[in-house]
């Protein structure tokens, strides 16, 4: 198994000629082959080896890693199978897209590859990113990387498991209601969801358009920072992206000379420490906060009063958008068209047969969303949810007048056992209680390892920043990471 945990270690190894990009890629491909975590749905062996050999030739020409021009030079990454890669099967972990080969590459991935990154393959996930455990996949559940009977979290479960298990240097996930942060917390990684609008969604197969964001999973804050700044910025193909700004978070972190957190006001929302919070999670978060205070940060008790409505709000908004976003999977232009559909005598049967390929959770959400948008229910559900969403956003706006950053747990518990919650969707939905509010508000948030429970399962610290406040957020996380060391 490759031993380099970070982008910088990998580049140093290239420069020291300990390994070449193609040798490294080969090692990762072997590790993927041997792994039984079920993380990759598709491995792009030929494509990635070609990319790696190209990197080899560039290295030969330069004699060193061209870090300036290609900050991700030769770095093998895993890509969640919800992001398109031209010519490479993209399934969204669904039967319905089993044979789908997209004709274009997602902007986020395109920017990473342009910066030198290599795409090892497409990572397993909950079908259409709907789930919190990575058990809702047509390609089988993903195992937790260290506790095989546990879930890695979802929906970007494999994105976390693969990085943790050393099957790629870092990976891309997507976060709609916590899908990057929850797996990062369960697997003991750094997981960042940037501000809504920071990274183009072009090529991100939509679950809930007003919530979806590309995020990163990595061993260090610095790696996530580098990936994020590479992907960020306006994309003419996505009208919801923010104007470009010059970002150099990674360099900012590297040159960070701060010895304390003086002046940092950390808000601690009481609503995130309610019933159902595992004691060890509470104490791990608490002790990290104490450490921050010891470094000069000021702890401010705050309230985000509408937090208790966030799950209900989220599950109306997200499923409504999903019911519409997933309408295109009709078997007419692409995707699987079953024999029964082909033989259908009328249109309704054709659709029924094709769309029966969706998994149970996806069907449940499409039905819920269709209901919530229906005439006569729209006002009571969708419209009301949008109103409450504004109140939740307002809670944060008010809070950020008093604090610089908000700290909380990522999830109420550590990774649970596979099969434990599949039959109880509501219990499953509750896992996202701490991550959903920031998603509804479009705020940047991350998960940082901050301890372990008695079963040696990782606990994540949740840091939330104001809109486009990734700089401060990453800097704080980096400071804590360096100061407290990895808890892995």
């Amino acid at each position: 198994m490759p031993v380099f945990r970070t982008i910088r270690e990998t580049h140093d190894a290239f420069d020291a000629r300990k390994i070449s990009p193609s040798e490294l890629t080969k090692e990762y491909l072997d590790a993927i082959e041997k792994s039984d975590l079920n993380t990759f749905i598709t491995v792009c062996k030929d494509r990635v080896m070609a990319q790696a050999q190209h990197a080899d030739s560039i290295f030969l020409k330069h004699g060193k890693v061209p870090r300036e021009q290609s900050p991700l030079f030769g770095i093998p990454l895993g890509i969640k199978d919800v992001l398109t890669l031209e010519g490479v099967r993209t399934t969204c972990a669904s039967k319905i897209l089993e044979n789908y080969i997209p004709p274009y590459t997602a902007t986020a991935v395109e920017r990473l590859e342009k910066a030198g990154a290599l795409s090892l393959g497409k990572l397993n996930m909950d079908e259409f990113a709907m789930g919190s455990s990575n058990e809702n996949s047509a390609y089988g559940a993903v195992k937790h990387p260290t506790h095989y009977d546990r879930v890695p979290g979802g929906s970007s479960g494999a994105s976390a498991a693969a990085v943790k298990a050393g099957l790629c240097v870092a990976s891309l996930g997507t976060d709609t209601g916590g899908s990057v942060r929850l797996p990062a917390s369960y697997c003991g990684l750094v997981g960042v969801k940037p501000t809504y609008g920071r990274i183009s969604r072009y090529g991100l197969i939509a679950f809930a358009s007003s919530l979806d964001q590309v995020g990163t999973l990595s061993n260090t804050v610095e790696d996530s920072a580098l990936l994020l700044q590479t992907m960020s910025g306006h994309d003419p193909r996505d009208s919801t992206t923010a104007p470009a700004e010059k970002l150099n978070w990674a360099e900012q972190l590297r040159s960070l000379s701060k010895k304390d957190l003086n002046g940092l006001r950390i808000g601690v929302p009481k609503e995130y420490f309610g019933d159902g919070l595992q004691t060890e999670v509470a104490s791990a978060v608490e002790s990290t906060l104490k450490w921050c205070e010891s470094k000069g940060a000021k702890r401010v008790e705050i309230s985000l009063p509408h937090t208790r409505y966030s799950i209900a709000t989220y599950y109306v908004v997200a499923v409504s958008e999903a019911s519409s976003n997933l309408a295109r999977f009709d078997g007419v232009r692409y995707g699987v068209r079953s024999k029964e559909a082909e033989e259908a005598s009328d249109l309704a049967t054709f659709y029924k047969k094709t769309r029966s390929l969706f998994g149970a959770e996806v069907k449940r959400r499409i039905l819920l969303g269709t209901f919530a948008l229906s005439s006569g229910y729209y006002e009571a559900y969708y419209l009301r949810a949008c109103q409450v969403r504004r109140l939740i956003r307002k809670d944060f706006e008010d809070a950020f007048k008093k604090v610089d950053i908000i700290a909380a747990p990522v999830a109420p518990t550590t990774a649970f056992k596979r099969g434990e919650k599949v039959s109880d969707p509501l219990q499953m939905y509750l896992m996202d209680i701490c991550t959903i509010p920031a998603s509804l508000a479009g705020l940047p948030a991350l998960s940082l390892p901050c301890g372990k429970d008695k079963e040696d399962l990782s606990i994540g610290l949740h840091l939330i920043g104001p809109h486009f406040g990734e700089g401060r957020l990453l800097e704080t996380a980096h400071f804590i990471e360096k100061g407290r060391g990895h808890e892995s």
Binding site: L204, S239, V332
Partner: protein, 488 residues
């Protein structure tokens, strides 16, 4: 039409905007020739966006908004500072995303008016409720036993112009439609070809007892593709509804299709089968912001509109109202008229003759061959030359008609045609005198009758002279000469 029943008609017009590219992607929306790309090789004019590939996003074409604002200004609408797109959700194979991006409760333009003029000269204001933007769907092609989908047209930019139910007769509906057609073609925002479907109309029709102020149950007649058919379809539908009610039945709310071959409307689907479109705001697009400066800028580009042109033709050229109305009803005809006058020495003097030729022969020929002015070989120069010859009495009106027909067929110059066909009137006195002397000598009885006071008989003599000159002589000149000879 019945005296007991009042007809209430509202029209929804879909006009395809003649922008270079589609509304949400970079695919072409029209060819250099102005022809529709819908007729290109099936599905050649598509991209991942307009075929609804997973992960793609719409990006609004600014030109489309500018065109729609033009229409709004020409119809005196309020232009919303902020309008939003909404998704209209329904399943159909020609609808790639499973929803149409349209506008719903916040359209771009609202509350306009359009003045119509009836054949009687009566004028009436029809209120325009709204103009909104939307994308077109593709087209299903039904073969025996299977169907094909052509998405060339998917994503074409449309405006939907919705009137209030202000029309009371099929004639008014026809006049409204013609006036609207004239406006969009004058603005150069729509090619206006009804056969190609880039100007389509749905009619909402209901009846109510004369004097009633509540609306009756309406039916919607779909996609009628000519002005005349709209009038006929409404006429049929009104009579059908009266028949239903008088027979003790009730009109049911439904969508009906007009069969022009049989001149009947047929039930397509009832209200019970109507879709619940589950409209909700399109999360992939930002609200459309239109500022004052933009509106002012567009205002400055507005051309002379049909009613303004009509006024000018009356005041500047002294044309009768009916001529002005006919000429301005279609932009190509008005342009042709103006270009014909452009090279004439005294336009004011030539205007009536020019108008007569264009509203008479030229219009007849256009109808007969069912072509557009631009497709004809006849050019404004032909008409200008002809008018010049007519004014100088070089050709007779019969000769002029003949020459025009030749020019229409061959495109040859008027000079050449007049020479070749010998259409020049004989005005040479020296050549005429012997002919006239002979006629007078051969018809002593008629000459005597004339002298006895039966002046009508002069017509016979002129006729004889015309015959003798092969129709080339100017009849009024002949009459003058004969009179002079008899009286002397």
């Amino acid at each position: 039409m019945s005296l007991e029943w009042e007809t209430v008609i509202g029209l929804e017009v879909h006009a395809q905007l003649s922008t270079q590219s589609k509304i949400f992607c970079r695919c072409r929306a029209r060819l250099e020739t102005g022809h529709s790309v819908a007729n290109e090789v099936a599905n050649a004019n598509t991209c991942p966006v307009c075929t609804g590939h997973p992960g793609t996003l719409p990006v609004l074409n600014e030109q489309v908004v500018a065109f729609a604002i033009k229409a709004g200004l020409a119809l005196g609408c309020e232009i919303r500072k902020k309008s939003i797109f909404a998704r209209k959700n329904y399943f159909y194979p020609d609808l790639p995303k499973g929803y149409q991006i349209s506008q719903y409760d916040q359209p771009l333009c609202e509350n306009g008016t359009l003045q119509i003029e009836l054949a009687s000269g009566e004028k009436k204001k029809i209120n325009v409720q709204r103009i909104h933007l939307e994308e077109d769907a593709g087209k299903n092609v039904h073969m025996s036993g299977y169907s094909l989908v052509n998405l060339n047209r998917a994503g074409m930019p449309l405006v939907e112009i919705v009137s209030f139910p202000d029309m009371r007769t099929p004639e008014e509906a026809g006049a409204y439609l013609r006036a609207l057609h004239a406006i969009v073609t004058y603005l150069d925002i729509c090619d206006g070809n009804m056969q190609e479907g880039n100007f389509r109309c749905d009619a909402n029709v209901s009846i109510r007892p004369m004097g009633s102020s509540t609306l009756g149950t309406r039916t919607e007649i779909k996609n009628v593709n000519s002005f005349r058919f709209v009038e006929k379809a409404i006429e049929y539908e009104v009579n059908r509804q009266i028949g239903v009610v008088q027979g003790g039945g009730k009109v049911i709310q439904e969508t009906r299709l007009y069969d022009s071959a049989k001149n009947v409307t047929l039930s397509m689907r009832s209200k019970e089968d109507a879709h619940d479109y589950r409209y909700f705001p399109e999360p992939d697009l930002l609200p459309v912001s239109v500022d004052k400066a933009w509106i002012e800028k567009i205002k400055k580009t507005l051309p002379e509109l049909p009613h303004e042109k009509r006024q000018r033709y009356i005041s500047e050229y002294g044309l009768p109202a009916l001529d002005a109305l006919t000429l301005t009803a279609s932009k190509p005809l008005a342009v042709f008229f103006e270009q014909s006058l452009a090279t004439v020495k005294n336009p004011k003097l030539a205007a009536k003759t020019t108008a007569n030729l264009i509203t008479g022969e030229v219009t007849r020929l256009l109808h007969e061959e069912n072509i557009e002015m631009s497709q004809s070989r006849l050019k404004p120069a032909h008409v200008a030359d002809l008018v010049e010859l007519l004014t100088q009495k070089v050709v007779s009106s019969t000769g002029a008609k003949q020459a025009l027909l030749q020019a229409w067929k061959t495109g040859d110059s008027i000079q050449k045609i007049v020479e070749k066909e010998g259409l020049k009137q004989v005005s040479d006195l020296g050549a005429l005198e012997p002919v006239l002397d002979e006629i007078i000598a051969r018809h002593p009885a008629q000459v005597a009758e004339f002298k006895a006071g039966k002046e009508k008989v002069i017509g016979f003599l002129v006729g004889q002279a015309m015959k003798a000159t092969g129709g080339k002589a100017n009849p009024s000149l002949l009459q003058d000469l004969i009179l002079k000879k008899i009286k002397s």
